[in-house]
């Protein structure tokens, strides 16, 4: 494998894993549900996205084109916001606790 690609793959891998970890860390650490929602929807999704990209590069460099992994990213990007919205709606429905300094209010629908 060409070392440039190898380095790129390594970087993407580390970056992706780091994002995934940060997203999960946010999920663990942040004080209320609505804040925790941000971690997974963005960081984790992108983390996995860059891992997938790394994989595509890796397999392409190995000789077998592995484009289809991109579909996973596409799918995740398509669905993550809807999941987040659904969960937020559910959270509003069940009146989860939120930190007091939150400006504004969730809806009652």
């Amino acid at each position: 494998m060409e070392s440039a690609i190898e380095w790129l793959v390594a970087a993407l891998l580390l970056l992706g894993s780091l994002f995934a970890l940060i997203g999960s860390f946010g999920l663990y650490k942040l004080p209320d549900f609505y804040m925790r929602l941000h971690g997974p929807t963005k960081a984790t999704t992108l983390g996995v996205g860059s891992l997938v990209l790394a994989s595509v590069l890796y397999f392409s460099a190995e000789g077998e084109v592995g484009l289809h992994e991109l579909l996973i990213t596409l799918f995740l990007f398509m669905t993550a916001p809807t999941s987040a919205s659904m969960l937020a709606k559910a959270a509003m429905q069940v009146h989860v606790q939120r930190v007091e300094r939150t400006k504004g209010q969730p809806w009652e629908q």
């Binding site: 929602l37 941000h38 929807t41 963005k42 990007f77 993550a80 400006k103 504004g104």
Partner: protein, 167 residues
């Protein structure tokens, strides 16, 4: 039989054709034929589920929008990572009601999706009259600025692509 009933969702067909090439891990005569067949058949099979498809009026603008969102996503992540790793006590979370100009369900969905994928915001809900979007921000020092950014960066182009008749 009209062309429409045989070819109800041209964009979808195109998307499916592309997806099939992705699934097949490359482009070949066989995969193109199969992709085309599926791209035609599946929309016919499922068009009842999608009675009111969106119309793309300006594909180029849409592509530009796409790239912008992609880059924003990348940025958003660094932003959020910073916020997460930093002391959470300093964060100023907020629920922001964003007034919508978009009307079509699909384009509103697209906007909401975009908002969720980009810096520090998650779209939590759409009002039942489809006139406003409830956004939760992880750290919102200024609501107005947030609303403005979204309007300019995302809603406008979407307006152009999907609802140009109205602008």
């Amino acid at each position: 039989m009209t062309v429409k009933s045989w070819f109800p969702h041209p964009w979808l067909s195109l998307l499916l054709l592309v997806v099939w090439q992705l699934l097949m891990n490359g482009v070949s005569a066989g995969s193109l034929i199969m992709g085309a067949v599926l791209g035609l058949l599946i929309p016919i099979l499922t068009h009842l589920f999608w009675p009111d498809p969106p119309r793309v009026h300006r594909p180029l603008v849409f592509m530009g929008f796409g790239f912008r969102v992609l880059s924003d996503i990348l940025m958003a992540n660094f932003e959020v990572a910073k916020l997460i790793l930093g002391p959470s006590r300093r964060l100023q979370p907020a629920f922001v009601v964003y007034p919508l100009d978009l009307r079509h369900e699909f384009s509103i969905s697209l906007l909401a999706t975009t908002v969720s994928l980009t810096p520090g915001t998650v779209s939590a809900d759409v009002s039942q009259d489809h006139r406003s979007l409830l956004i939760h921000g992880l750290d919102v020092p200024d609501e107005r600025e947030l609303i403005n950014t979204i309007k300019q960066r995302y809603e406008k182009p979407l307006m152009e692509v999907f609802e140009c008749s109205r602008t």
